[in-house]
């Protein structure tokens, strides 16, 4: 997990406080973002009829990252659920769920987009829809395609692309969990709720829909007390002209409990 941490307070709550975790990124999400950039439509060409070629890395990535495949059959579309293999034909006349499509108008508009993702031959165009978010399933498939069909290796895409401005204005760090075996331990990646909760706000406990925000972030990193762990002085971390990147290789990362603290548990709210 990688974190971007606020430097300096923007005011009293509910504004950002010094040390707040602005955003947390899991390794899965980092891998996905790199995969998306590698497989961006702008990196691929067009066929002579203006569609994308079948069997390319772009198509394989789309297939790995979407729930449905659509293929035109005359004036109708065959929708295939890529998870269940269920198929259905849909056309201008609504089906029992009220679904309908005008294939001509749909494809005409899509093909005008220079970043379109319409594949195949005229008359049997193919496309994918509904983004998947089950990274643990889709990432191995997607990265297998990328490593097979390009020079990119997943292991070289394990870091969040923090910008120079972010490295000057924020504290950019990474952290790990631990798996214990007796007295020894191995460092492990963090995922799921451990990641997503790190950038959540603190809301007032209320039955109402509208829960006032007590704090913009629940978790913070007291970087001012962690100079040795982060490998940078407080003065450097607070200097917006000084670029700091506090990320470390996995075998050197600090445990998450050393770096991140819950304001509620710490009695700060």
């Amino acid at each position: 997990m990688e974190l971007i941490v606020k430097v300096k307070s923007d005011g009293s709550n509910p504004y950002y406080q010094d040390g707040d975790v602005v955003q947390a990124m899991s390794l899965d999400y980092i891998n996905f973002v790199h995969a998306e950039m590698i497989c961006h439509p702008s990196n691929f060409g067009f066929s002579t009829n203006g569609t994308r070629d079948l069997g390319t890395l772009l198509e394989k990535f789309q297939q790995a990252t979407h729930v449905y495949k659509f293929q035109r059959v005359g004036k109708r579309v065959r929708r295939t659920n890529l998870i269940t293999a269920e198929e259905e034909m849909i056309g201008k006349t609504p089906n029992e769920n009220g679904e309908s499509i005008d294939v001509y108008q749909y494809l005409t508009r899509r093909l005008k987009n220079p970043n379109h993702k319409i594949f195949g031959l005229s008359g049997s165009e193919l496309w994918y829809g509904k983004a998947r978010t089950d990274f643990e399933v889709l990432l191995p498939v997607a990265w297998n395609h990328i490593e097979t069909e390009s020079d990119n290796l997943q292991d070289n895409h394990n870091n969040w692309p923090f910008t120079d401005l972010e490295k000057r204005h924020f504290v950019c760090i990474n952290t790990s969990g631990r798996n214990y075996d007796g007295d020894s331990f191995t460092r492990v990646e963090l995922s799921g709720d451990t990641v997503t909760t790190r950038s959540m706000p603190v809301l007032e406990d209320s039955e109402d829909d509208e829960q006032p925000m007590l704090a913009k972030r629940k978790w913070f990193v007291p970087y001012w007390d962690l100079s040795s762990e982060l490998g940078n002085s407080v003065d450097d971390l607070r200097n917006s002209d000084h670029m700091c990147d506090c990320r470390k290789p996995m075998n050197e990362r600090e445990h998450i409990d050393i770096l991140t603290y819950d304001k509620v548990a710490e009695g700060l709210l």
Partner: protein, 341 residues
């Protein structure tokens, strides 16, 4: 006073996340008093984040040194084409509620797609204008769709309480669909009973819930003005209202559109290019009842810019209802496509 533009994306931009751009809005090394901050998103990869926009006050810690306005927008090359997955987007997988909260006046959010179909159960509200945020609010040209397995009170775009008949809050040319979970109480666009004035123009809402307690447009305040909106295929009513809001030229698939120019009880399948799950395209199609049946709103609240970026006002169009202004293709510029039965 200057306009300060920063880029947002994962391919060598100024910021890699929307949250980081927002978190820097009070930075004195970037902004000065009365600046207009613009964050321009790129379609490098999907964002996955919940954001509260309330930054830009007390720049550098100096009270009274504030941004004049904030705008979160999308670069021209990264704008969506009116369908999911085609432009800069936030595909949210976390559990924060709401996913995007506008919590400060003078804020614009436009041209982003919010896809929350993979979000956690707690993420019930996708885009929210917070309590007492009543001035200079613009939510335009967004695509908002999908919710996780929530437990009710699920909402696409929400305007919360605050203000009165003088509010300046505009929600225009947005497409909202598939705000639908198994429980009841799904709402496409929702203005609360104490929300004061909001103006909803040329939005398209489709497929809000499947139960009788699900509503496409849910307007509970008499100061609200809504015109030229399409709301169709809701589980309950396409439009539910109280407090006598001002309504004209709206279109529904049930009988709930009323007022001057209302297009009620229209057939959903006759209106849109595609209402197929996973391949939705809520552009209106040839023959739609929405064509040329809207009212000309000039440039009010940016209502003139449709979901494709067409300026209805500048082009002198006879206004359609909904987010899309249909212009029949001329031969020039039409993609080649062959159809054989």
């Amino acid at each position: 006073m200057a306009t300060v533009t920063k880029t947002i994306g994962t391919s060598s931009r100024d910021y890699s996340t929307i949250a980081a751009w927002e978190a820097d809005l009070s930075s004195a090394s970037i902004y000065s008093n009365n600046d207009d901050a613009v964050g321009v998103c790129y379609n490098d990869s999907a964002f996955d984040e919940a954001v509260v926009i309330n930054g830009g006050n007390s720049i550098g810690g100096s009270a009274g040194t504030d941004l004049s306005s904030r705008k979160l927008t999308v670069h021209a090359d990264s704008k969506h084409d009116g369908t999911a997955g085609s432009g800069a987007r936030n595909v949210y997988t976390g559990s924060t509620n709401p996913v995007l909260k506008i919590a400060i006046n003078n804020t614009t959010v436009e041209w982003l797609e919010y896809d929350c179909s993979g979000a956690g159960a707690a993420s019930r509200q996708l885009v929210v204008v917070d309590n007492d945020v009543i001035t200079g609010i613009y939510i335009n040209n967004m695509i908002v769709h999908g919710v996780g397995n929530t437990t009710g009170n699920t909402m696409g775009i929400v305007v919360a309480n605050g203000g009165n008949a003088s509010n300046t809050r505009y929600l225009t040319n947005n497409i909202v669909y598939d705000i639908s979970d198994a429980s009841t109480a799904n709402f496409g666009m929702f203005c609360t009973n104490n929300s004061g004035k909001s103006e909803l123009y040329n939005n398209t809402i489709h497929g809000t819930g499947t139960n009788t307690g699900d509503f496409g447009l849910y307007i509970l305040n008499g100061n609200v003005i809504f015109k030229n909106n399409i709301s169709m295929a809701s589980g309950g009513k396409d439009i539910e209202e109280s407090g006598s809001p001002t309504e004209e030229y709206n279109m529904t698939s049930d009988a709930t559109a009323s007022g001057t120019g209302a297009q009620a009880s229209k057939t959903t399948a006759d209106q849109f290019v595609s209402v197929t799950g996973g391949s939705e395209d809520l552009h209106i199609k040839s023959g739609s009842d929405a064509i040329d049946n809207g009212v000309d709103l000039g440039t009010t609240g940016n209502s003139n810019t449709d979901i494709n970026g067409r300026d209805r006002d500048a082009q002198g169009d006879t206004w359609d209802i909904g987010a899309h202004e249909l212009v029949e293709d001329s031969a020039a510029g039409t993609a080649f496509i062959m159809f054989v039965d």
